[in-house]
Structures are given as C-alpha cells and as structure tokens.
Symmetry: C2
Subunit: 387 residues, 2 copies
C-alpha cells in the first residue's frame, strides 16, 4: 500500500494545534495565570433561548416512537434548505432552489471536501494570508498553488491572478485581515472567472458581521455569479454553533457541479444531525434572529473596543469593521511568533501569529473579537505594560 505522499509530506503542526500546545505549556507552567484567549475564532456567548428550546424539542422527538427520526436526507432537510433561501437569498433578489443548497456539519468540512469535485491538475489561487485549511486541503490533493498576496501597501486587497487560475478561494469578510469587498470589486472576480472558466469557492462564514450597506452579503448579488461561484456559509460564527455543527453550501445548477456535489454528499456523508438542523431552523424565527443579533452586537462591540484600544496603544490595526478579526502589525517589525510568545509570557494573552496564515502574514498577529468586553479591557490594560 502506498500512502498519499502529498498528505504525508504536509508539515506536521497545524497552526491552531501549535497555538494550543504553546498555550497549554504556559498554563501548565503557570497554573495560577488567567490566560485571555483572543486567538482562535471561537464563539463564547451562550445560545439564545429559542434555539435551545428548538434543540430540546428535537431531542424529545427522538425519545418517542411517534416522532422518532432516523437518517435525514444527505443534503439536509427540505424545511431548512427552504428557510435559508427565504431568509438569506430571496430578500436580496437572489433566486435559488432548495436542490442548490446543501446542509452540512459545518463550513470546515465543506471547504475541505469540495476539493474532490476537481481534477488534481487544476491550478489553485489562494489569498495570502489565508485560513490554512484552503492551502492544506489543496496540498493534500497535490495541487500547485498560485499565491495572491494581500499586502499592507494595498490595504490587503488581492490583485486578480496574473497567470490563469482554475480554482479560486476567496474569503470575505476576510479571515484574517478583516478586508471586505464592495460590489464592484467582487464583480471583477466574477468577470475574471467567467473569462477564464474558473470556479470561485467563497468562504462567507463572517457574512453576518457586515454592517456597511455597500458590501454585498452574498456573491450571488453580482450578476453572473451563479455560473462561476460556490458559496460556503456557516452557522458557527453567525449563530454561535461551533459546538452544535451546522453549515451550508450553495452549489448553483448553473455551475454544472450541483449533481456532482450531490453525488459526493450522498456517498460520503449521511447528513447533518437532526438536532443541529432544528437549531439552525430556529435561527430564522423572529426570536432567533433577535437573539443571534444581540450576540453579534456584543462581538461587534468587542471588536470596536479592541480595535480602538490597540490604536490608542500605538499599534497599527486593520479589520474589526464588518468583520470579527483585527489584524495588528507587530511593533518594530517583530516576528509574528516572537510577538505571540511575548504576549503570552508577559501579558498572558493568546493571539494568532499572522505568519501562520502564510508568509505574507509575517509581522502581524490576529486578534479575534469572539470574546467579552471584560476580557478585552483587561487585555488592553495588560498590554499597556508592554509599551
């Protein structure tokens, strides 16, 4: 048996595992330390009551013969797919059918598995810095990667690829830089993809953080996008579902890929948890919408406080508006991991080293706003001692 050498040769330590390991080592050496975790983009606020109630009811359904459920449709329950269309797409003038919406156990799985739709020989363009899974997934498949640097001197906007890119991974609002694209900027990417017969995979996990009315919430707000774009969304950051596990991916029939993705999912996936799908449905009720909006407002406030506080301490910061991430330049061109270690050792603060998102992230760290006001204010107080 020959192993997949592409997978075997991948660097061993995944970014977030390395952060967890260093944090754990520090915590073990300093058991009394109150470590503030502003690194990983994980939600912290409890779920709204209407979502909790929906999950209790779904659990209860499984307790009684009359309401018991077994396997659901691999692509997700029709009621959830329809609710997504009715709430997330129709109001923005986007026409989709339930067959084009695929419920999953989260965007992470879909972003990894969508790679299977494509031949290994395709070229892949990936923003740099970028969420590491896009890169690792394509390296596992043996694909060459075209880097699209997002640099400070261009306000972290990527240029269109100079060579032909077959598959393009986008993420807006961007993780880690917090950059967002206007309608016109997004339209340039659609035009590129249509001209070059490329496919765009857009990770829209942070869509709910958009506040600026000029920023489109879905790529399908741009004419022609349904022919060249797959949009991946998640309830993780929108509704706090990182433990619940539910997301969805839109594969329009116009891409020519909808039947293939359906076949893939029917073969290698047995559907998302019934309880998680009921929870997702509850996010579209009036109480659900209000509840998740209250949590989002809290995270947005944290982002504003953190962003303003870092500025006041003399740091150069980007993002944090229309996005939950703050992209912070290290002082004195310091190495990302060195600044990570300094923050951990001197301030007991965990951030994410920018270089973990690719070489173009060197000299930056990412702070996440998925925290609370108290911790962020405490973090800023501690960072004063560094200056």
């Amino acid at each position: 048996m020959q192993v997949n050498t592409h997978l075997q040769q991948l660097k061993g330590n995944y970014l977030f595992t390395e952060i967890a390991n260093r944090t754990q080592a520090y915590q073990q050496a300093h058991p009394e330390a109150n470590v503030l975790r502003l690194g990983i983009g994980d939600v912290t606020l409890p779920l709204p009551p209407v979502i909790i109630d929906a999950m209790h009811r779904a659990v209860e359904d499984l307790a009684h013969a009359e309401t018991f459920r077994g396997y659901g449709p691999e692509q997700g329950y029709h009621w959830l797919r329809q609710a997504i269309i009715d709430n997330d797409y129709t109001p923005r003038g986007i026409n989709l059918t339930p067959e084009e919406v695929f419920i999953s156990d989260g965007a992470g799985s879909d972003l990894g598995n969508l790679s299977e739709l494509f031949d290994a020989a395709n070229s892949v363009a990936i923003l740099e810095p970028s969420y590491p899974a896009y890169v690792d997934t394509n390296r596992m498949a043996g694909r060459e990667i075209i880097w699209l640097p997002c640099l400070e001197e261009h306000n972290f906007y990527p240029d269109l690829p100079k060579q032909k890119a077959d598959i393009i991974y986008l993420c807006f609002p961007n993780n880690p830089t917090g950059t967002v694209l206007t309608r016109d900027e997004l339209a340039r990417w659609i035009e590129y993809a249509r001209t070059n017969h490329s496919i765009i995979l857009i990770d829209a996990a942070y869509e709910a953080f958009i506040e600026d009315p000029n920023i489109p919430h879905s790529i399908y707000e741009i004419d022609g996008a349904q022919e060249v774009a797959i949009e991946i969304r998640s309830f993780s950051k929108t509704a706090g579902f990182t433990a619940v596990r539910c997301g969805y991916t839109v594969v329009p029939k116009a891409t020519g890929l909808q039947a293939m993705w359906s076949r893939r999912q029917c073969t290698k996936f047995n559907g998302a948890s019934y309880i998680s799908q009921r929870a997702a449905l509850a996010t579209y009720t009036p109480e659900g919408k209000a509840g998740i909006q209250a949590n989002l407002n809290s995270y947005k406030q944290t982002a504003r406080i953190l962003s303003a506080g870092l500025c006041a301490l003399g740091y150069t910061v980007y993002g944090g508006k229309n996005a939950p991430y703050i992209w912070c330049k290290t002082p004195d061109k310091m190495d990302s991991w060195a600044f990570f270690d300094r923050l951990l050792n001197q301030c007991q603060i965990v951030c994410t080293p920018g270089v973990g998102f690719g070489n173009a992230g060197q000299g930056f760290v990412r702070f996440s706003a998925f925290s609370n006001r108290k911790d962020v204010e405490e973090a800023l107080k501690r960072m004063k001692t560094l200056a």
Copy 2:
C-alpha cells in the same frame, strides 16, 4: 477548471436514492397504501431515556455562560475516546490509546474520507456484494477495483485476493449478506495483509448484533491486526443514532497512518457535535447499556421472525443471525429489481435489490430487521398471497 472526471462519470443514481424514488412514486400513486419499509438499514426505535437526558443536559450546557462550549477537539473529546477504549476494547484484551480513536459524525463520513490517506494508484479489493459507498468512493478517486465475489455456493465467504490488493475493504457482520467471520477466518486476512503490506479497512457497524461467542467483536482481537487494520464503528446501528450522528474510527499507531489521519481530520473536519458526543458517552452508562441492549434485542427478534417466516414461505434465506440483515434469494431466479417491484406493487413492501450491492448480488434482495414485530408479521402475511 477541469472537473474530477472519475466523480463525473459515476452512475447518477445512488442505490438508496433509486429505492426512495420508486417508493415515493408508488406512494404518490397510491396515497392510501400502508407501505412497509424493510429496505434501508435505518433504526426505528426511540432512544433510551438516559441518552435523551444526556442530550438535554448537553443542550442546556450551551444555554449558559458558565457551561458554554465552542469547538471541541477535532478528534473528539477525550472523555468519549477513553470511554470507548474502556468499554469496547480493554475488556477484550485490546490495548489502545485515546490518540488512536477518532470520533466522527458517523461511519459513512469516515469510510468515504479514509480513502484520502492512500495514493490513487493502489489496488482496492472489495467484497461483492457490498455496501455501494466503498466502491463509489474508490471510483471517485480513480482506483481500479478487484472484486472478491461472495457466492451462495461458498456460503458468501470471500476468498483471499488472487492478485495483490493494497487496500482491502471488509465488512463483518456483513452488509448485505449477514455473513460473519470466526477468529481463524479473520486471522487469514490479517496474515494476507501482513505478507502483502496491505491495509484492511473493516466496517464494524453491525458489531453489536454478534451473539455467537466464537465471533470476534473487533479485528484487534487477532494478533498483529494493529499493524494492518483500521476499524470503523458507528453508534448508528448500535445505539440508534442515525439522526444524532456519531461514530468512531480506530487508526492504531502501528499502521503508520495515525498521524496522517489526525492531520486530515484537523484540516477538513471540525469535530462531531458536542450534543452527539454527550449522547455517545451516555451509551456506556449502565442504564445506557441496558437501554440500547433492549432495542437491539427487539431488532434481533424481528430478524428471527422475518427469517423464520420467509423460510416457512419457501424462500432461501441467509444472515439474520449475528447480523440485522436477511439475504433472501428471489423466487425462480427472478431479477432483483423485478422482485423489488413485485414486492412493492403487490405487497406494498420495500426491500433492497441485491444487485444494487454489485452483480454478485443479482437474484437476491436484502431485508432489514430495523423494523418492528407488527410490521414484519404484516409483511409476512402479505407475502403469503405471492406464493
């Protein structure tokens, strides 16, 4: 962009989708008909109270700041991995560490995704008849398949591959034939794999149906198996979790694949639902064990009634002992789909056409025991009119 032509060229209709389509068409044409579903292997009995309570508590954890959880470990919570070892392996004399046990959202995902560990050029040996996903997954990856026919004249036991097989998919207790392997028979496969440097992927989803003390519950009961075998298990059939979604896969370090699988999961999977993992943990409590055993006993009784009833009607049947599936020869060498249609149209019974599991399944249909006594007795009564 070039699509994955292996995936594109796969036959469009997945077996269970085709069954669902034909059943739905019949039901729409005959809305008054009471269709008895003895086809798909989906559980029907409600979950035991202790598991329901565990899920309610897990849901409630997500409602309060003090107990809220976000992302869990991609490989699953340590408490569940340890409980699996303590209950499913240590009592059988098998030594494993929690790092070798990976929690997933179900065996279906793992059986599909494990294919990524291996180079596309490996040869793959698959039993015929077989669960279609093994075949489709490897066809999507572009691998050649070596068929290992399991024929009636050999009591549905496969022979060892005549040509060298790099990857071997086994499933015991077998879906669809119900065949089980003794310790000595399983040892021959381990020896083959060790001699030929093959890897065995064994789907042990139906392990809980084993009653015969001579049948091993885990492949690791055989010496040397940890070097050449990956075991895939599921709470779906054991504990009725087809809606809940939880399974696990054991990748022993001795296979040399444990680190690669961990890397794959950390990149493309964000962990199983916290609620599902709490539910799985509850299956190992004394009340949980008693509750799932009561459900299993009910399914086993259904299997016995169905098996004996079909025999009494003159059918030749296999399986149904140590396994939830009954493999039934069609009358007069009838085609599998033709008999499926006859049962649906004349008796309003849904079975699974054997040929859907591969050509060696032609002339058979599979009945599932995941039903109740009442439905099975009604089905047998209706089938009397056929004879």
